[in-house]
């Protein structure tokens, strides 16, 4: 067993464990803990990428996924102040059974078919001439600006469109059908939650006037 293999099993096991923890009860119950365990999983994956001589991709993984995407996720989760899921989900649904069967099928398929097909696969020796720069920033960058120039430009357009779309979607002034009153701000939500807890057991009528009550509550403090 080489150091590389040991590292692979540690990192791979960690990535699988962290992604599974994202969905399974102890952490998976609360969205924010899910998000944190997903960040951990991304770190393991970044390590795996580095192990596969893709240093640039490993660094990008951390910058883009852990640094930007997951920051957005945690920011949204925390601002929406989502509490752990205490909803009455049925234990076993048709969807869950289907998911399990399909997942087992895909894993089984890959392990058997690909395992058989790639059993004797030999990796290219990166020491031999022509491969010294494999995975280096220069090589990836060169390829991005030559053979993949059009997709690269399209991606930049896509990112621009996504940025504009995200801003428009997140704007407050969208008019929806039967839109309820404006959402409570972060600070009102703290009170709104207290309010909901005092009225636990009531239906959704409770939280539609919660912001209003919370404002009154806050005002009475002054």
């Amino acid at each position: 067993m080489t150091t590389e293999q040991i590292l692979f099993y540690i990192l791979g096991g960690g990535a699988v464990a962290a992604s599974a923890a994202m969905l399974l009860p102890p952490l998976g119950k609360s969205p924010i803990h899910s998000a944190i365990s997903l960040i951990v999983s991304f770190f393991f994956l970044a390590g795996l990428y580095a192990l596969l001589s893709a240093h640039l991709l490993g660094a990008l993984q951390i910058i883009v996924y852990a640094g930007a995407v997951m920051v957005l996720f945690t920011f949204v989760i925390m601002l929406l102040n989502l509490r752990p899921d205490e909803t009455q989900e049925p234990r076993i649904t048709a969807g869950k059974v289907l998911a399990g069967v399909l997942a087992a099928f895909v894993v089984g398929k890959v392990v058997t078919v690909v395992g058989l097909a790639s059993a004797g696969a030999k990796a290219v020796d990166l020491a031999q001439p022509g491969y010294e720069n494999f995975g280096s920033t220069k090589e990836v960058g060169y390829m991005l600006y030559t053979s993949f120039l059009v997709p690269f430009e399209l991606i930049s357009v896509l990112l621009l469109v996504a940025a504009v779309g995200a801003v428009i979607l997140a704007k407050k002034s969208l008019h929806y059908v039967d839109r309820p009153e404006p959402p409570p701000s972060v600070f009102d939500q703290e009170h709104a939650h207290e309010h909901m807890h005092t009225q636990s057991g009531t239906d959704h009528a409770g939280d539609t006037h919660a912001p209003h009550d919370a404002n009154a509550h806050a005002a009475s403090h002054h």
Partner: protein, 329 residues
């Protein structure tokens, strides 16, 4: 055992050494800052513990270790405890790729600069975790401000460091220094854009490490102590240490990519001396600025970033690309 032959163990040994040195230097960096601040305000600063208060950092640490560990009511204990550890971890991890001289480097990645920027960018996660998990308004506002500021100022920070990358054609920190040893430091060659890029980088660095004039996330007159409001004892200490380590590593990076790293005017001194001298000068200047200037308002801060720093760094980047394509030999 191939990784060990490739310097796996050597990397670990250097890593431990560099972490120890950086942490020690950070401790006395705090002492130095207090002394400078005191001189600027015409007072003495720490004087009692050791000669001119030289043992003050040790005393501070002992004090922090003895303090009660308090978990606020309603706090999310898991995140609350994890945040300071992660903050300190990320701050120290950036130190791993900083080459202090041609030989003294724990891990000379070919994407070293990107690694530093990545870890600097991800520092917002634990900061925001701390702000939210404390279940405290001041901490939450501090965390929100910290995220907004660090995400915004991350843009000019990355863009200005990309200016250096475009000029030198490499992302490896030691590669950037070697280029500067051959072609002159980036701060004065090519004339003009180098120094502007350096100044922009320096400003973005101040903002990234939450230093005055960009320290609204912990503006003590409005937010008590921002994200660290609810933290006590060593957990508070970790935030404190992380902040200083971040500033120190940031100064080292600025010295590496704009000031020529371990290159000096004469070469009979080992490169380490020049590197340390440049880092310390930048580190001190951060505190000089801190104790001189006032604090921006939140909206002024965002306007400065998006209306001035980002367009300027974009223009610099375009200039750098044009220069490299048409003027560089």
């Amino acid at each position: 055992m191939d990784l060990i032959q490739h310097g796996f163990l050597r990397g670990i040994a250097y890593g431990l050494l560099i972490i120890t040195v950086v942490m020690t230097a950070t401790a006395w960096g705090m002492w130095l800052e207090r002394k400078i601040a005191a001189q600027m305000q015409n007072r003495m600063g720490p004087m009692f513990v050791g000669f001119h208060g030289l043992l003050q950092p040790v005393a501070d640490m002992l004090k922090l270790l003895q303090k009660e560990d308090i978990l606020p009511a309603g706090a999310d204990d898991w995140l609350f405890n994890l945040a300071p550890i992660l903050t300190a971890l990320f701050a120290i991890a950036t130190a791993a790729v900083v080459p202090w001289s041609a030989q003294i480097v724990a891990s000379d990645l070919d994407v070293g600069l990107l690694w530093v920027l990545a870890l600097g960018g991800i520092m917002v996660v634990p900061v925001w975790m701390a702000g939210w998990a404390s279940n405290n308004k001041f901490a939450l506002i501090g965390g929100m401000r910290a995220v907004a500021q660090s995400v915004s100022y991350g843009v000019p920070l990355v863009l200005t460091s990309m200016v250096a990358v475009v000029f030198t054609g490499t992302m490896s920190l030691s590669g950037i220094v070697q280029f500067q040893m051959a072609h002159g430091w980036l701060i004065y060659w090519p004339p003009g854009p180098g120094i502007i890029a350096f100044l922009l980088f320096y400003m973005a660095l101040l903002a990234e490490s939450n230093r005055i004039p960009f320290d609204i996330p912990e503006a003590e007159s409005e937010l008590v102590a921002g994200i660290s409001t609810e933290y006590t004892g060593m957990k508070f200490g970790m935030f404190y240490v992380a902040e200083y380590v971040h500033t120190m590593v940031g100064s080292a990076i600025a010295a590496l990519i704009f000031l020529g790293g371990w290159d000096g005017p004469f070469h009979w001194l080992p490169g380490l001396h020049w590197m340390v001298a440049k880092t310390v000068i930048l580190f001190v200047s951060v505190y000089w600025v801190r104790w001189t200037l006032l604090r921006f308002r939140s909206d002024q801060l965002m306007r400065l970033c998006w209306l001035y720093l980002v367009p300027m760094s974009l223009a610099l980047l375009v200039f750098a690309a044009v220069w490299v394509t048409y003027f560089a030999a």
